[in-house]
Amino acid sequence: MKTFNLPDLGEGLAESEIIKWHINAGDLVQLDQVVLTVETAKATVDVPAPYSGRIVRRYGEEGDVINIGALLLEIDETGAELLTSEKSQTADAATVVGNVSQQAHSVNVDDFWIGGEHSPSTDNLIVALPSARLLANKLGVDLNGMKGSGPDGLIVDSDVYKEASKQHRGTEVLKGARRTMVSTMSESHHNVAAVTITEEAVLEHWGASEDISIRLVQAIVHACKEEPAMNAWFDAETMTRCVHSTVNIGIAVDSRHGLYVPVLRHADEYEPNDVRRWLDQTVQGIRERKIAREQLQHATITLSNFGAIAGIFATPVVTPPQVAIVGAGRIIEKVVIRNQQAVAVKALPLSITFDHRACTGGEAARFTKALTEHLRKAVGK
């Protein structure tokens, strides 16, 4: 039978507290198996068994403070034959503080190459700006085998765009008005609390040769005077609103190059024929792409006469900082009751979208009413 006393755990600390016994009397222990954990003033230390054998007796309980040399265990070595009888050679880790583990890791740390590979294959090497990689990912462009236009064949964004039109026929990079449309429409969609009111203006009293565009311009000018809240600019960030006394109507014009919205400034001061002349000139200018930037600015309200092509009602999109847009659909024929008689009439469908952050429903409805009533009249003004 052998005894085991508390060894010197280092740094001249005489006392240790028993934190936990890991074995009981009667247990078989292996050499180096942790039998108890003690805490010195500086560290917790797992104390391993110095011999293999059967524990005969334990001395000291958890929580006891014991001194170096105090008897800890009696171990019967004859019981060790039941276990693998490895030669008792206690490894001397010699840590005076802390606990350097002796448990071997299962990884092989000493299988190494000095440096790396000798000649890494550069066949598939892709050298591309991170932005170009992202772009290629989004466009589904395969960069393999691509030659870039940057220094040393670096692939840059423009190479990816070019490659995209090769790899996916018909892909183009948006420019000009189409590009502008993307940002203005997204901004509007994200920010505006859009509500669309629809109404019909019955055109019983219209002459045969009424100019719809002129009538719409006149009606909008009238409605803006009646309900100026819809002829305004609004900025949520600064919580400001500017209600305009003049009416600048942005008129949506469709073109091959994209959506243009030239602005008829001071629409309230135009004579009907002047409106028509302005429209014709502007449309011509857009076709020839000769429209100046300032002609596209400072609209206070917008008109979209989509019905000239097709469509009855719609949900037009307000362009901030404006707060309203009037959409005019295709003139339809419908049956109404007049003096208890069914009568066929023509009607102009209207769709008015407003930003509910800036205008009340009442303001929008009154505007719609004024607009409709003005359109219903025999002659404008």
């Binding site: 880790a93 071997a104 890791h105 890494p120 892709i126 991170p130």
Partner: protein
């Protein structure tokens, strides 16, 4: 051939070099009779005597200063600091003298000293016993900074460090002092002090690490391999000078960089690696480079130590994020 632990390989290298170069001397606290706090210098005093293996007082400034003096006068001292956290009192000698001796004397004097210190946490030790401050020394011009992470590399790199004509900070990962074993060839061959070591080849991601984290990184690489991700594991080993060529070659293949180090994140060596990658290899990257590091806190006492230490799972998760998040 016997398998040696990392600390035994350090001892073997010291034996080899003391035998072959009479100018090599050891000094430090308990390096003589006691054989060193971790037994790195066992048997050396018995063999080479007290003039070449010098037990110093508990005075790190003295160890640093004496080593500088010895080195500038023709000896090759290998000074041991018991723990990296205890180097602080010697910093004046190291930074103001050892590191700049060659420059100050316009090459007339050099300082061929090695300053050994065990570093890193994970051994349930108290304050000042768990530091990882390799970046301090990498930031100071004049030092070579080396961290071995296997027995054979500890042997070969320590030989190289002793033979270096400029001061070398040699930081030994004490957590794996005795947990890694391999057959060490005692052939007296030094390993290069300016090169990484590739421990595992892979095509999907490059893990760069050093010190005890090499073990968790290799384990993580195995786990990742089972999940279909092949990691290339590079042991940086030479913290300064940094061998970026090996890393960039690896990035040509993988395009993804994950740096793993136990030292805290801010201004750690990982920051330098990411910066150099951004400067010179940005266009190879398929994903933003990433770090798994210790926290920007004082190393906690041992009860909370595991929260600070990098676990294999941390590396696996970060690697998967880099690979799966950036196809």
């Amino acid at each position: 051939m016997a398998e040696l632990t990392l600390v035994e390989a350090v001892n073997l290298a010291l034996h080899h070099e003391m035998e072959h170069d009479p100018n090599v001397v050891l000094l430090g606290e308990d390096v003589g009779d006691n054989g060193g706090v971790f037994r790195a210098t066992v048997g050396l005093k018995q063999k080479y005597g007290l003039k070449r293996v010098i037990d110093t007082p508990l005075a790190e400034a003295l160890i640093g200063g004496v080593a500088v003096g010895m080195a500038t006068q023709g000896l090759r001292p290998v000074a041991e600091f018991q723990f990296q956290g205890f180097i602080s009192p010697a910093m004046e000698h190291l930074i103001c003298h050892a590191a700049r001796m060659r420059n100050r004397t316009r090459g007339r004097l050099t300082c061929p000293a090695v300053f050994r210190a065990p570093f890193g946490g994970g051994i349930h030790a108290p304050e000042h016993h768990s530091e990882s401050v390799e970046a301090f020394f990498a930031h100071t011009a004049g030092f070579k900074v080396v961290v071995p992470s296997s027995p054979q590399r500890a042997y070969g790199l320590l030989l190289a460090a002793i033979r270096s004509n400029d001061p070398v900070m040699f930081f030994e990962p004490k957590r794996i002092y005795r947990t890694v074993k391999s057959e060490v060839v005692d052939n007296g061959k030094a390993l290069p002090l300016d090169t990484c070591f590739t421990l595992r080849k892979g095509r999907d991601i490059t893990l760069v690490t050093w010190g005890a984290c090499v073990v968790e990184s290799l384990q993580a690489a195995q786990t990742l391999s089972n999940q279909g991700i092949e990691a290339e594991v590079i042991d940086l080993a030479s913290i300064k000078p940094i061998d970026t060529a090996t890393i960039f070659h690896s990035l040509e293949k993988t395009g993804r960089l994950l740096v793993v180090h136990e030292a805290s994140k801010t201004c750690g060596v990982g920051a330098e690696l990411l910066a150099r990658t951004a400067e010179h290899a940005m266009c190879l990257l398929k994903a933003p480079p990433k770090r798994v590091t210790g926290m920007d806190t004082v190393m906690p006492y041992y009860r909370n130590e595991d929260y600070y230490m990098i676990q294999e799972q941390d590396i696996v998760l970060a690697a998967r994020e880099l690979v799966e998040g950036w196809k």
